[in-house]
């Protein structure tokens, strides 16, 4: 059978982000339009996973030119077909505009957001149809594991991963090769490999995108790990909040089984591997490896003390190797391209790339993959396009609930595991939340502690009771009831919890508080001693709003939105806000057409 040759491919993103922005409708409209114009045999539609630029979604890319259209709507489809696909003219108004230059950029690879990235793990994401194993294979997929199984001994595979210098992307940064070696050295008939796709860090979505956009890469990484340590069975533990990732993974496993890539005697090498999916049931602590294994066993997902480490006694007491999704996504590249290609990227102590979820008050939110050692400034300003509405940068929070906030003075810090630790933050899973002058750092600290406190499994006292105490103090400070000594008490409690909690959740829970105290102590002090929230976030401390008489045009819009009827006045005259009644919600300022209202 001869394969149809298409003159163009139209890639429509059907990752979670773009689907929620309506990309399924666009795909249908495109199908109809192509059929109506008799183009279905010439132009192929490919559904892809996430391009990492969900904010600008729905995203569509037309190949061979590589033209990148964003925020496409169903109504635009006819024009794209007519103009671009028939007449070869690019539809300018749907191109991406750079935030500052306002320049229209036609090609995918010329957009600043993509230009500075280096995509190893995400290489195929957004380029292939994740539901079709043939597309993965066409781009060299399963070659790496084929090479490992037929040309390398398990020890050679481990040595290659060791030489590459890959460190775990799940947060801890433990050397992956060494971890595999421990599991290999444990003597047992039965061993397991686990892929940790629990991704609990609120603000991170790289694992989700990889599973949705290129599930076979993760499967290939797991197979390689299993061969290296001598396991024949594996589990992928996925959050239940990720229905699309679960569906695509199920499909990928089925296809791999049909192709004989999973099952018995793979590549005629005598290696067997069976892969299962476990759906999480909603507990952040289950991302911790020992809790995760308890959960797979059907128990309450509580951590247990280590040692024994999973490599010695893991799932059902058998030696087990557990790795994060992104860690495993690096493996095919290392085996195929060799450890040197990998270790030539990055810094002394951190090799390769890292995927970050760039979010918060920034122009280009999305997933970015950059070489280790890229500076924060490059990521936030060059790739991320700087802060929204030209506001001033205040801090970036990395490492989620275990991490810390990094102020402006460290913007030129090259990012790697060790440099982030030195400034009191953490790589974590790669969440990066950018904050501007309108963010209150005490409120941020409270936000994270509130999260860890409610996710504490309650097994050990320092974490269960200590985080509760700390949260009470932070709540008081935000409500204007802070007292002298509170800051010191937070520091003492935080240090105590760090030193005595059983698992990583408790040991790192105080970090967001300690790091904001370290860099933004004056904000805490302003709350406590001056009864002021400098960012104007903490409602109880926020100053009332005032209307500037000279700018007020007397439209009366503000009166309609004030929830507490604090505004009085007559149409066409100047309005006034009663400071006693005002609850500083800001609704009036948002509504005012001439920006006459501001916080006093």
């Amino acid at each position: 059978m001869k394969e149809t040759i298409y003159r163009s491919h139209v890639l429509v993103c059907t990752g979670t982000g773009c689907v929620s922005s309506g990309s399924k409708n666009i795909k249908m409209a495109l199908e109809d339009e192509l059929a109506a114009k008799d183009l279905s045999d010439e132009i192929k539609i490919v559904e892809t996973g996430c391009h990492g630029f969900c904010e600008k979604g729905p995203i569509m890319i037309v190949y061979p030119e590589g033209v990148f259209y964003c925020q496409v709507e169903s109504e635009d489809v006819a024009e794209i077909v007519e103009e671009h696909l028939l007449k070869g003219r690019i539809v300018d108004r749907l191109l991406f505009k750079e935030p500052f230059t306002e320049e229209n950029i036609p090609s995918y690879s010329d957009i600043d957001f993509y230009k500075k990235q280096k995509r190893i793990v995400l290489a195929n994401c957004g380029r292939i149809d994740p539901e079709d194993i043939n597309e993965y294979i066409a781009l060299g997929g399963y070659e790496a594991v084929g090479k490992a199984l037929t040309k390398m001994t398990p020890q050679e595979v481990i040595d290659e991963v060791k030489k590459a210098g890959l460190r775990g992307r799940g947060g801890g940064g433990f050397p992956t090769g060494l971890k595999w070696q421990f599991a290999r050295n444990s003597d047992s008939e039965k061993k397991y490999v686990i892929c940790n796709a629990d991704e609990g860090d609120p603000g991170a979505f790289m694992d989700r995108s990889l599973l949705e956009g290129d599930p076979h890469r993760v499967i290939e990484g797991m197979m390689t790990a299993a061969y290296a340590i001598g396991a024949d069975e594996g589990y992928v533990y996925v959050r239940a909040e990720y229905p699309l990732a679960i569906r695509r993974l199920e499909k990928a496993i089925k296809q791999a089984e049909e192709y004989g890539l999973l099952g018995e005697d793979i590549f005629g090498s005598g290696f067997n591997f069976k892969l299962h999916i476990k759906k999480g049931a909603g507990a952040f602590v289950c991302g911790e490896e020992t809790a995760l294994m308890a959960s797979i066993e059907g128990k309450r997902g509580m951590p247990r003390p280590r040692p024994p480490y999973p490599a010695v006694s893991g799932l059902w007491g058998k030696p087990t190797n557990i790795n994060n999704v992104e860690t495993l996504g690096n493996i095919p590249y290392i085996i195929k391209e060799g450890s040197e290609a990998f270790s030539s990227i990055g810094t002394e102590g951190s090799k390769g790339t890292k995927v970050f979820a760039l979010t918060g008050k920034i122009n280009n939110t999305g997933l970015v993959e950059v070489p280790m050692g890229t500076t924060l400034r490059e990521v936030i300003f060059d790739i991320g396009g700087g802060l929204q509405e030209g506001k001033k940068y205040k801090a970036v929070q990395t490492g989620g609930p275990s991490g810390g906030c990094i102020p402006e003075e460290y913007l030129d810090l090259p990012i790697d595991y060790d440099s982030l630790l030195e400034v009191g933050a953490m790589m974590g899973s790669g969440g990066m939340v950018v904050m501007d002058e309108g963010t209150c750092m005490v409120d941020v600290a409270r936000f994270f502690l509130n999260f860890t406190q409610s996710e504490s499994c309650g097994k050990c006292t320092p974490c269960r009771e200590g985080t509760k105490r700390m949260l009470e103090i932070l709540n008081r400070i935000c409500e204007g009831e802070g007292e002298e000594g509170d800051i010191e008490l937070l520091e003492d409690l935080g240090q105590h919890i760090k030193d005595t909690a059983l698992c990583g959740l408790g040991q790192t829970a105080p970090n967001p508080v300690l790091s904001t105290i370290h860099y933004f102590r004056n904000e805490y002090e302003a709350h406590i001693y001056e009864n002021k929230c400098p960012a104007g976030v903490c409602k109880e401390l926020a100053a009332a709003y005032v209307i500037d008489e000279s700018s007020c045009v007397g439209c009366g819009q503000c009166v309609k939105v004030c929830p507490v009827d604090a505004i009085s006045g007559k149409p066409k005259e100047t309005y006034v806000i009663d400071a006693e009644t005002c609850i500083s919600c800001g609704a009036c300022a948002d509504r005012c057409p001439v920006d006459a209202i501001s916080q006093g």
Binding site: G17, S20, P202, G203, E241, A357, G360
Partner: protein
């Protein structure tokens, strides 16, 4: 009277028994069985939990221990549509709490509650992995992004 009740219960329990038939009697199937049962019944009533316990040869307290540990399991009836508002970091920074407030007002329930007509259950979660579209909520398996309080009534209308 008791007999009729018995008969009704039998019928009521048929779906969970069907689910149990497909699994071996092993502890590690407890969570998948509970997940399937909850999908079937919408929540996990006591009768179903008893059936699961005996079906998998586990003690009832063991089953309760697991059900209460994981936030995904519910022992009260829930709405036809489940709304999960994201309170994760990215959504928090971009005004997720205003969306939650709007939902509370619109539905007249608090977070964690179900509307009287059993149409909606309102919950908050920490990150649904669509942070690029913050603030975000999920209604059942659908993700809605770039929310503002004003968009809420229109979205809810699609589900009622």
């Amino acid at each position: 009277m008791a007999e009729i009740k018995e008969e009704k219960l039998e019928k009521y329990l048929t779906p969970v028994r069907k689910i149990l038939e497909r699994y071996e009697k092993k502890e590690h199937y407890l969570i998948p069985v509970l997940q399937e049962a909850q999908e079937e019944y919408g929540y996990l009533p006591e009768e179903v939990l008893k059936e699961v316990a005996s079906g998998l040869d586990l003690s009832l307290s063991q089953v309760y221990g697991v059900v209460t540990f994981y936030s995904q399991f519910h022992q009260e009836p829930r709405g036809k549509n489940i709304i999960r508002v994201c309170m994760g970091t990215a959504c928090h920074v971009r005004g997720g709490d205003k969306v939650l407030e709007a939902l509370k007002d619109e539905l007249n329930v608090d977070s964690g509650e179900t509307t009287e007509d059993l149409k909606f259950t309102l919950e908050s979660v920490a990150c649904v992995g669509a942070c690029g579209l913050a603030p975000v909520m999920m209604v059942n398996d659908n993700t809605h992004g770039r929310l503002t309080p004003e968009k809420i009534p229109e979205i809810l209308a699609k589900y009622s």
